[in-house]
Structures are given as C-alpha cells and as structure tokens.
Symmetry: C2
Subunit: 207 residues, 2 copies
C-alpha cells in the first residue's frame, strides 16, 4: 500500500479544489478523473462509489479544517485570545486561494446538503455542530476568565460569531464587496466589546 495512498491523497486534493469552485454537484467521476489526469476507472479503483468519493472529500476537508483552524486556536491562551484565534484562523482558512480557490468547502457543502438526507449531510452537520461547540466553549471560558460578563449567553454569542463568518463568506464570495475583511474585524471587535463591560440595560419587555 505504498503508491496507491499517495495518488489517493492527490485525488482528494484535486477534488477539494474542484468542490470549492463548482460545489458538490460538480464533483463527478469524469471531471475529477480528467482533472487529476487519470482514467475514470483508474480513479474509481480508489473508491467504491460516487458517494464514497463525496464522503472522502468531506472527511478530508473536515480533517484539514480541524488541523488548520480548530487545533491551533485551542493552543492559544484561554478566553478572548482563543476566541479571536478561532475566528481569525477561519478567515485565513476561508481565503486559502491555493487549496480552495472557491472558498470554504464545508460552507458550500452545508448549503448544498441541508435538505438532502444521508451520510454526507450528517457528516457535515456533525462537523458544524462541533465547530459551534468549539465557539461556545471558547465563549464560556472567556466568561470564566473574567474577560466577558457573566450574563453573556455562550450559545447566542456563538450564533452571532457564526453570523459574522457567514456574512463574511457571503460578502466576499457573491457580492465581492471590497473591504469585507476589515468589516469582519469591526463586527468581531464590536461583538466582543459588547460582551465585556457596560452592564446591558434592561428594557421593559413588551406584551
């Protein structure tokens, strides 16, 4: 099992690049074979079905995401620095032009799979839940460390962080809004700032 595994890795590398640009729908045996300079059957020998290719690609992307974003961020100091590292490393990951010229494969897959039950959907959903939990934990820790107020809701904060991430993706990929990266930074700063000091005013609730 010497050479096969390296070609397999090369195939997955090409596949991720392909999916990044064309989406999972563009991940076809023929196109992938052509792209990696192999025959369809030669490529097919490494996987047993199209769905297997899809799962392998998603698995590889998830592993890379973990290695490039989550794990390094977890080595940062607890609290706000770690939280910022999570988001900033996501930004770097999202804009990795070489390995993913079309932006984050997982966000692409998340939308494409969200109404298509099956193993691929569950794989991505689970990865996203873990990512969400990583964010939530980082927020909880920031509270413990005294960086954030105690009445900050980690789940809500994670929701808002994810919003910043998605809005950045949206503005960059579709709208091509210039200065999006700076805007993302502002949004992050403001969100963190709001969690830090100034006991939030309680307004009388309607109804």
């Amino acid at each position: 099992m010497g050479k096969g595994s390296t070609t397999r890795a090369r195939i997955l590398d090409d596949a991720i690049r392909l999916v990044s640009v064309e989406g999972l729908a563009g991940l076809t045996i023929g196109r992938l074979a052509e792209l990696s300079g192999m025959s369809k059957s030669g490529l097919f020998a490494h996987f047993e079905s199209r769905e297997a290719v899809e799962l392998a690609v998603l698995g590889e992307a998830i592993a890379r995401f973990r290695d490039a974003v989550v794990l390094p961020a977890l080595r940062e100091p607890r609290g706000e620095p770690r939280l910022r590292a999570l988001v900033n490393r996501w930004r770097d990951w999202e804009s990795a032009q070489v390995s993913m010229p079309g932006g984050c494969v997982l966000l692409q897959a998340a939308v494409e799979l969200d109404d298509r039950p099956g193993p691929p959907r569950e794989l991505v959903a689970e990865a996203m839940r873990q990512w969400n939990e990583a964010l939530r934990r980082a927020v909880s820790i920031a509270i413990e460390e005294g960086h954030f107020r105690k009445d900050v809701d980690p789940a809500l904060f994670a929701f808002q962080l994810q919003g910043i991430i998605l809005s950045t993706h949206h503005a960059q990929r579709l709208l091509r809004t210039p200065g999006t990266s700076a805007r993302m930074e502002q949004a992050l700063d403001q969100l963190i700032e709001g969690a830090r000091k100034a006991p939030r005013a309680r307004r009388a609730l309607a109804r």
Copy 2:
C-alpha cells in the same frame, strides 16, 4: 397568450419548490417536467434553454421576495420599525413551508452560483446587493430619525443583519437547532440595543 402563461406560472411555482429542496443543480428539465405533469418537450416550449429556465426561476423568486418582504416592510414607519419589519418578514419568507419547503431559494442560489460566472450569478448578486442596500438605507433612516446613534455605521450594521439572517438559515436548515427563531430575535434585539444608547467606549487601538 391565454393559457400558456398560466401553465408557465405553474411550472415556475413547481420549479421554485424543487430548487428550494434540491438546489439549482437539481433543476433539470426532466425532473421538472415530471414534477409538473408534462412532457419534457411540452415544458421546453415555454423556455428556450435550460439556462432560460434557471433565469426565469430566479427572476420569479426575486419578484416574490420583493413582494413578500421588501415592499411590505417599506410601508412600515421609518426607522427601527421598518428595520425590524425587514428582518421579521425575511424570517416569515424563509419559513414559508408550502412555496419553499427547503428554505430561501435565493440563499441557496447565492452559494451555488458564487463561483460560477454568468447571467444567473449576476442576477442573484444584483438582487442581493439591492437587499443589502435596503437594509443599509433602513439603518440610515433609523439614524436620521434619532432611533440610532449618529456614529452607527450603516454598512457595518447591514453586514451584521445579514449575518443574523445567514446564521438563522444555517442553524435551521443544517443544524436543526431548536429555538433558532428565538435566538434570532435575541440577536436582533441586542444589535439594535447596541446602536441605541450608551456611547460606545473608545479603546486605545493596538499597534
């Protein structure tokens, strides 16, 4: 031009439902014909190409979005109420189970098209830019009306609103997080609250 246009409308209705669930990639002549109980060629007579179908579907979705979300919201009182109406009407639109069982067609299309140049991409991008501008204008008006502080950045605020919207879509469609609608409300309240009073503390900037 009596009957043809009504069938055409019915086809588009089915098509939107299809795209909502399966994405633009699932919008195929055969599937659509089967779904609307017609022959492929009978259906094809209403359009001149597959891309024409795609464009018609997107155009119809954009028109519906305008009618169901933007225009009604613009009839709300200037300032915060109008802003809230924009977001809340988006929520209703997103969760219109009958006409779009798989959630907002435009967000789906936005991700699928973001790296695929061509008329469909431009159509969606333009619609999204207009939506973003509607948000921005509503924020500007809220500032004029004295609802928000004068140093609020409308572009940033619109970016954050879009983040809330996208995060809601994400949590509902992929993660199926319970209570997402309430969370969205919280995020919106908090964002608006932050723009209202408490002159934001200026922190010394790094570097």
